[in-house]
């Protein structure tokens, strides 16, 4: 069965990019435009990994990640933060929210896919 990935991203072009890259790699893709929708969807659907944009309207990606980590059901859910922030302070704030990995935009496609692959394949 294909791995299911949920992407939370408010920019429709970047959402298309995620979809293109991930479906091309054989993942089953679902996208939502806000953290609120993402959390709601996770209540009733199973995903193997979440790609989380950080700057979102309403609840931001850091808050959404914190909420997921506070819920025992999602404590181990792999979350990849994708951020356009190039500032060190912001990067550590994102990590502190509990994401599993962080990639910066513009995306390095190979690095992005390897990061996801490594989170879905337990090696160590």
């Amino acid at each position: 069965m294909n791995r299911r990935i949920l992407a939370v991203e408010d920019n429709p072009d970047n959402m298309n990019l995620f979809q293109w890259i991930l479906e091309d790699e054989g993942y089953e893709f679902t996208g939502v435009a806000s953290a609120e929708e993402g959390l709601e969807l996770l209540e009733n659907h199973v995903f193997d990994l979440v790609v989380m944009d950080i700057s979102l309207p309403g609840m931001d990606g850091k808050e959404a990640t914190r909420r997921l980590r506070n819920d025992p059901r999602f404590r181990d859910l792999p979350i990849v933060a994708a951020t356009a922030h190039a500032i060190k302070e912001e990067e550590s704030a994102i990590r502190d929210s509990g994401v599993s990995a962080l990639v910066t935009k513009p995306l390095d496609e190979q690095l992005f896919l390897d990061t996801i692959d490594s989170l879905l394949t337990e090696v160590i």
Binding site: N11, D13, N14, N16, L17, W20, I21, D24, S55, A84, H85, A86, I87, E90, A101, L102, T104, K105, P106, L107, D108, E109, Q110, L111, D114, T115, D117, S118, L119, T121, V123, I124
Partner: protein, 547 residues
């Protein structure tokens, strides 16, 4: 009208003095004991205090000391009034903090005059305090404005990166499925311009960091001729593509090592040599290194970048180091560039204890000169022929898009504390067939490397993160080398732009790779370190280093 506090335990004295003061036009507040005086001073904030010394319970000296110990009340001038007239009395009063001293019986005109003097001092003090407060407010406002600028830049950076994600991402996808040459050219143009925009952004962030004094500069021993050769290596491909010759020269002997920030020096040289190549259509770019030693001044290392390009006139040379200035606006259209490179280079050179200068003749070529402080050169070996073996030679990079092409059959010790990189690097290496052992700090890496060597199963490759807790990668590598460890060690560093190779070489690393790590670069590097064919390694990312 000033407010005067009169303190005396004898009511008649108070009354007398108060009447005089009121006649002079002052507002008078009175207190009949030391304690009351402190209370009134605190509540009424008088402009001056006339303080009797001899009082029961708390005498005038004590009152004065307490007033002068209170930061709020300290500025109020205190004139002590005492029957004691000896030298000791006067000294004791002034030592307690009094601003002036009057003996009883006093002459009203003298008291009046002393009071005026004290009030003048108080007024000056108040003016200065007000001015200081204004300055303080202005400084806070300036700091807030600067913070707002930083926030703005950071937000702008984010707002530009977000759409660039879609532009560059889709251009890459398009590039994989396009075969008609004109379409490929279109995709390539989109990608090139997108990357250019990101460079502009990074330059602006860099400049803003320099201007706000937030740029951290290191002082590390490094080899200038290696660095120059390295820079030439990186620029060789670009020069070759335009048919330019890129020559390394030196004027007199060059110190083997200097103390500076290699990352920043590299950034300057890449910038200036890159510019020279960009603005030269035919001929050559020469990089001439020279030591400048004046008596009693610290020595400087000078790099001259001399090209046969478009050149410049005197006024252009003068304005070139200003932000966003190129010789003229048509230059920008023709040659591109952020217009910030020279500004950044000059600021960096000055931070490194030197400066930059430019000169040229229109149509004949330009010379850019940069100097940096070398630190003390006592006992440093001078090289007569620093570029002997280094004719820059670059193997073109062959991109390898095929994931599973590289198979590894080796044992790797990965010293890395960051969970992201632990996971990603282990994953990539393991999937490629390598056996990975993890060390979460430098101390553990030394233990594991030595244990494996003692068991006669040494690691084929050590990947050493340079920033680690307990013992960092530099110290761990130094200690391993000091203990006689001879296996290959690659430094992993996060210095994205230009790296701090020299520092890693000095510590004993023989390979170098920057984060974020790319799959192909990582696998190629490990393959090479484990004894594979090194010909396919890109010098930009994982060149074997001499030294």
């Amino acid at each position: 009208m000033s407010k005067i506090l009169v303190v005396d335990d004898i009511k008649d004295n108070v009354k007398l003095l108060s009447l005089d003061l009121q006649d002079m036009g002052h507002d008078v507040v009175v207190a009949y004991s030391g304690r009351e005086a402190l209370e009134r001073a605190d509540v009424d904030r008088p402009d001056c205090i006339l303080l009797d010394v001899m009082m029961p319970v708390m005498n005038g000296y004590e009152v004065c000391r307490r007033l002068k110990n209170d930061p709020q009340l300290r500025p109020i001038p205190v004139i002590m009034i005492s029957a004691g007239n000896s030298e000791d009395d006067i000294v004791a009063g002034l030592d307690a903090g009094a601003d002036d001293y009057v003996s009883k019986p006093f002459n009203v005109r003298i008291v009046e005059s002393r009071l005026r003097s004290a009030l003048r001092v108080k007024e000056m003090h108040d003016d200065r305090t007000a001015a200081n407060q204004q300055l303080q407010q202005a400084m806070l406002a300036a700091e807030a404005a600067n913070q707002a600028k930083s926030d703005f830049l950071s937000n702008m950076s984010h707002e530009i990166r977000t759409p660039m994600t879609a532009i560059l991402g889709f251009a890459e996808i398009l590039g994989e499925s396009v075969f008609k040459p004109e379409n490929l050219r279109a995709v390539d143009t989109i990608t090139r311009n997108g990357n250019h925009l990101l460079r502009v952004l990074n330059d602006i962030l860099d400049l803003s960091k320099i201007e706000s004094g937030k740029l951290a500069v290191e002082q590390i021993e490094c080899c200038p001729s290696d660095m120059v050769a390295d820079v030439a290596n990186l620029m060789k491909a670009r020069a070759d593509a335009k048919g330019l010759s890129l020559k390394l020269e030196h004027d007199g002997p060059i110190p083997e090592t200097i103390r500076t920030d290699p990352t920043r020096l590299r950034q300057i040289l890449l910038n200036l040599v890159g510019n020279a190549v960009k603005f030269t259509e035919q001929g050559s770019v020469r990089l001439v290194t020279k030591i400048i030693q004046h008596d009693a001044q610290q020595p400087l290392l000078q790099f001259e970048i001399i090209d046969t390009g478009i050149g410049m006139d005197v006024s252009q040379a003068a304005s070139l180091f200003q932000p966003f200035t190129q010789a003229d606006t048509s230059t920008t259209r023709k040659f591109g560039g952020t217009g910030l490179g020279l500004t950044i280079s000059r600021r960096l050179a000055r931070i490194l204890g030197g400066d930059t200068a430019a000169s040229g003749v229109p149509g004949e070529g330009s010379t850019f000169r940069v100097t940096i402080a070398t630190g003390c050169l006592d006992g440093v070996k001078l090289l007569d022929d620093p570029y002997r073996a280094d004719s820059p030679d670059v193997a073109p990079r062959h991109g390898n898009r095929n994931k599973s092409s590289r198979r590894l059959n080796c044992r790797v010790l990965l010293a890395e504390d960051g969970p992201d990189n632990q996971r990603l690097i282990s994953f990539l290496l393991t999937r490629a067939g390598a056996e990975v052992t993890l060390a979460e700090n430098g101390q553990r890496a030394i233990e594991l490397a030595q244990a494996a060597t003692n068991d006669e199963q040494p690691f084929d490759v050590i990947l050493m993160d340079m920033q680690m807790p307990i013992l960092d990668g530099y110290d761990a590598t130094r200690q391993l080398r000091a203990s006689g460890y001879q296996g290959p060690i690659a430094a992993l560093t996060a210095h994205a732009m230009s790296g701090d190779r020299e520092k890693c070489v000095a510590a004993g690393c023989d390979h170098y790779i920057t984060k974020p790590l790319k799959r192909d670069e990582l696998l190629d590097l490990v393959h090479e370190m484990a004894g594979g064919n090194s010909a396919e390694i890109s010098p930009t990312t994982s060149a074997t280093m001499s030294g």
